[in-house]
């Protein structure tokens, strides 16, 4: 069983509704049985207003309704929006539509106290939070969070599960940053399948804190699964990373 904990839609040339069927077809070919849909996070730029956020989540809701056995929805938010709106949006996505967590991207650094209301709500609903992160030596975006910022968020909300995407982008430094925060997990996406990163993550964080994620459609299932299959770790650890951890963290039932 493989769960891909990190895909987006639409992206690049995959802009039509029918294209999600192609993504699902390819996922199935690689043995993937569930895709976590983190939303169209770049639609309308990095700083979406409330209407734009609703539009992004509407699309995720529509897609999940069409493919309920395969797609798992995540509520995309810009934490700069009003707390009341965000709480309403979380309730709409999580309570009414069965989404499994929240997703924050580049709109606000996660050290900001503006996240507190939504983090408290996430804790109340037992929702995990995906917070974009990267150590970018080419210069970071204004509000982009680093793994050190995620460590700060994790220490403020130790009871909320936080997923730090982009193993290769966060690098060894990023894993060291979050190692002491047991409520933070890393997903294996980000950049090319840089050798040794998965082994380092397992050694530093433990296999229970690593999730497989591809970042499709910007990436491919082949290369991104290749980094898990190619890693020199035990088969038991690979099984955890490829799906067992996601099942447990997100309280998913096996089909």
């Amino acid at each position: 069983m493989i769960i891909d904990a990190h895909i987006h839609y639409p992206f690049a040339e995959y802009t039509e509704m029918k294209d999600i069927c192609e993504v699902i077809r390819l996922a199935k070919k690689f043995g993937v049985s569930k895709l976590f849909l983190l939303g169209d996070v770049f639609r309308h730029g990095h700083f979406q207003n409330e209407e734009q956020i609703k539009e992004i989540n509407d699309l995720t809701i529509e897609l999940v309704r069409k493919h309920p056995d395969f797609l798992v929805g995540f509520c995309y938010l810009n934490p700069s929006n009003s707390p009341d709106f965000m709480i309403e949006e979380i309730e709409r996505c999580v309570i009414k539509n069965g989404f499994k967590g929240l997703k924050f991207e580049l709109s606000l650094n996660c050290r900001s106290k503006k996240l507190d209301a939504v983090m408290r709500k996430a804790g109340e609903l037992d929702c995990a939070v995906f917070q974009h992160s990267w150590y970018r030596s080419t210069g970071r975006y204004n509000e982009e969070s680093t793994p050190a910022d995620i460590a700060d968020l994790a220490s403020r909300f130790p009871d909320v599960k936080i997923i730090m995407p982009h193993l290769s982008g966060c690098g060894l430094r990023g894993m060291l940053d979050i190692a002491g925060h047991k409520n933070v997990y890393v997903d294996s996406s980000g950049s090319q399948p840089v050798a040794g990163m998965v082994e380092y993550a397992v050694k530093t964080l433990g296999a229970d804190r690593v999730l497989y994620g591809s970042d499709v459609p910007g990436r491919d299932f082949s290369a991104q699964l290749g980094r898990i299959y190619g890693a020199e770790i035990s088969e038991k650890d690979k099984a955890k990373i490829l799906g067992l951890n996601a099942m447990k963290i997100f309280n998913l039932k096996q089909a």
Binding site: Y14, S137, P193, V194, A195, D220, A223, G230
Partner: protein
Amino acid sequence: MIDINVSFGSWPFQRFAENTPAKLSRHLKHEGISHALVSSIDAIFYPDPDVYNRLLVESLKPFPELLPVFTVNPILSNWEKIVDSSKIKAVKIYPGYHNYPLLSDQVYLLADKLVENKMALMIQMRVEDERSHHPLCQIPPVPVADIIKFAKKYPLLPVICLCPYFAEAIELTAAANVYVDISYVETLNTIARTLRDVPAEKILFGSHTPFLYTRGATMKTEYAEIDKTTLKMITGTNARKIFKLK
């Protein structure tokens, strides 16, 4: 399967499991790779790459399936000697790491010599994703526009670009004599999608081992939705032809 993009040696920013020629040989065989073109990683930073070219030849001797590719720095005076001593019909350059523009007289002299010797030129466009470089060691990629201009100036010289991104690969292969490896080419359904814009004879299997997981590249071809003839071209026939391998 022939892998045209393999390296061996030490790198300050990564630890490699394949840290002896024997381990590299075993690893590649395990991944289904029968032959590999291998260059020295140490030759990238060491002031005279030929020192490490020679060490590479010695260390790979017990492994005939690992074919040494010499690193050349055309701004050093020994470039011609290195070209003439190469047994493989290609040499590799690192314009970014060796800090010279591709469109320069030194590289033109190298190109003339390679054409005369009926050899190919391998250009390492990048070694790592630029976003993850050490902040004090940021090496720019080789510009696509420069490669195209250079290739057009030398239509008889096969130019093999290593580690281009998907969009770069499409742009580069518009030039008649430019080829690309698949190590950094990635998009959904990578090979089938790339073939929509790049002719099969321009695509070569390359894994960028040991920097990347070899499996990332082998799975691209293993799961490629293409016919067997095209797959054979990408994983062997094209390389045999370009590098004149037996």
